[in-house]
């Protein structure tokens, strides 16, 4: 990674929401740097402000304190080089796979040209949905729907990919398979990935680095590199130092869980 530039930079970021029961601190003094093309998993209990972290990076909200920068520019509005994958695929039910993938072009520019369709064919093939272009979302399984969601996020070829618990709505087997496929995609076309999750195995399998957060207020309690080389497979995950690392993450999470 050597001379890597910083893709995402959080400096003393705080986020307070006004709610009916008074102000709610979602994030408190968050400092975080993610290098270009680094794969970072953000791990934490629900309500710890993980999604807020993602929305701040996307420029969908502005921090009430501190500064968020992407490629050294303060984030003041959504950028073109950021793609988002949501927890639910949230596809357009009336549009087929191809039209869902090209939706960003149609929505942003009002039209879909021949180069757009070529690019769509490329990303649809990359997520393994070649031949399903004319299907409606209702005709696809949950895993396939989320593949379309990923293809839609990759369509504009973003340098930064923000993923908000993208596999948490899938069954366990599909979830593992999707993880390996995501790694393949990432290795074939490197991107900076911020991957929000509450699953320890998922974080360990996918990420270069794991950020552990605590809830209310959301704070970073640990920031550790994953002791695993690449490419990764199931046997590598069974190595004792990886198991120790996962156990350590679990302790951190349980210690910070206020209800336990």
């Amino acid at each position: 990674m050597g001379l890597a530039t910083n893709a995402i930079d959080f400096r003393a970021v705080g986020q307070v929401f006004a709610t009916e029961s008074g102000p709610l601190t979602a994030l408190d003094d968050v400092n975080l740097t993610i290098a270009q093309h680094e794969f970072v998993a953000v791990l934490g209990p629900s309500g710890c402000g993980k999604s807020t972290l993602l929305r701040l990076t996307a420029g969908l909200m502005l921090p009430t304190e501190g500064k968020v920068s992407v490629y050294r520019q303060p984030v003041t509005r959504p950028r073109d080089d950021v793609g988002i994958v949501f927890q639910q695929a949230t596809l357009l039910p009336w549009a087929n796979v191809l039209d869902n993938v090209t939706f960003p072009a149609r929505h942003k520019r009002g039209r879909v040209g021949a180069p757009d369709r070529e690019r769509a064919a490329e990303v649809i093939a990359a997520v393994g949905l070649k031949g399903f272009e004319a299907r409606l979302p209702a005709e696809l399984s949950g895993g396939m729907q989320q593949r379309v969601g990923i293809a839609r996020a990759l369509f504009l070829n973003p340098d930064i990919l923000l993923m908000d618990e993208p596999f948490s709505a899938l069954d366990a087997l599909t979830r593992d398979a999707m993880g390996y496929e995501l790694l393949k995609l990432w290795q074939a076309s490197p991107k900076t990935v911020m991957f929000i999750t509450h699953s320890i195995p998922e974080a360990v399998l996918l990420a270069d680095r794991v950020i552990v957060m605590s809830a209310r207020p959301g704070r970073i309690v640990a920031d550790m590199p994953v002791p695993l080389g690449r490419p990764r497979d199931e046997s590598a995950l069974r190595a004792p130092e990886v198991q120790d690392f996962a156990a350590h993450l679990r302790e951190l999470l349980i210690a910070k869980e206020p209800s336990l």
């Binding site: 949501f86 949230t90 009336w94």
Partner: protein
């Protein structure tokens, strides 16, 4: 063993050819869409006819179905079509005006909390005004041509449309709105490409309710002031004590409502099949 396998293989082969062999007669009647309600209807008609004859019920209290059918010939077909066209025209224009007015209002209510706080209570007040009571006032203000009748129809038909459209426009998954914002797309495309299509199932439930209300609106308006139309015809016939032909007018009104409802249902099935629940596609 092998014989068994052989017969089951044969059964598997012939299976697709047979038409649901396990269904009993009652089950088949339940599955068929038209037969059972039609049968019920015919039985009721027969009982009705028999009751009026056996108990010698006078026709101004309850005319027999056969008398109602005779009632259709009380006026000429061309007069009938004039009545039908008058009511249908007012109902349709009022309905279209209601759609045209409620859509921008619904978009405003869904997009702006300020507008929804300011307008919604007012809409509820308007809806709470009994239109039948206001109708004479509207006729005096607007005269006796189509205009007041269209306004009355509009007033009855538009509230369910506003409510269903607003609900639909707000039912969009918030993630899609975030996607739209992250693409920095023009605001109007959030409405045209995301919110409106998402609202289609809601809009159609409003359209179905309102189309039958529009017929009611047209009839109410004709009760107050008209010289043509099914509503006028029913009122005129009752005032002349010709009850069988008033019932005939009622039958025409029911047919008109059913027809308009079916047109709305069919256009949803035809143009927006994805917006229907899966089993009804």
């Amino acid at each position: 063993m092998s014989a068994n396998a052989d017969t089951s293989a044969k059964a598997a082969l012939t299976q697709p050819m047979r038409e649901a062999p396990s269904l009993s007669l009652t089950e088949r009647l339940i599955v068929m869409p038209v037969v059972l309600p039609l049968l019920t209807f015919v039985i009721i008609l027969v009982l009705w006819e028999a009751a009026t004859r056996v108990f010698a019920i006078p026709s101004f209290i309850l005319p027999a179905p056969t008398r109602i059918i005779e009632g259709f010939s009380a006026v000429t077909p061309s007069r009938w079509s004039a009545h039908v066209w008058a009511t249908l025209r007012v109902a349709l224009i009022g309905y279209l005006v209601a759609i045209a007015v409620s859509l921008p209002i619904a978009i405003g209510l869904a997009k702006s909390r300020l507008m929804s706080r300011a307008l919604y209570p007012l809409l509820v007040v308007i809806q709470s005004v009994p239109v039948v009571a206001v109708a004479p006032i509207i006729i005096v203000v607007l005269g006796t041509d189509d205009a007041p009748r269209v306004v009355i129809t509009f007033m009855i038909a538009f509230f369910p449309l506003v409510v269903s459209m607003t609900t639909g426009l707000m039912a969009t998954p918030p993630e899609l709105i975030e996607l739209s914002r992250s693409l920095r797309a023009p605001q109007y495309r959030e409405i045209t490409q995301i919110r409106l299509p998402y609202a289609v199932p809601y809009i159609f439930s409003g359209l179905k309710i309102s189309v039958t209300l529009a017929v009611i609106g047209a009839v109410v308006a004709e009760f107050v002031a008209a010289d043509v139309g099914i509503g006028f015809f029913i009122q005129f016939s009752t005032s002349m004590f010709r009850l069988p032909q008033a019932w005939a007018g009622l039958v025409v009104l029911v047919a008109m409502s059913l027809f308009l409802f079916q047109v709305v249902s069919l256009s949803q099935r035809l143009f927006f099949p994805w917006s229907l629940p899966k089993e009804r596609r």
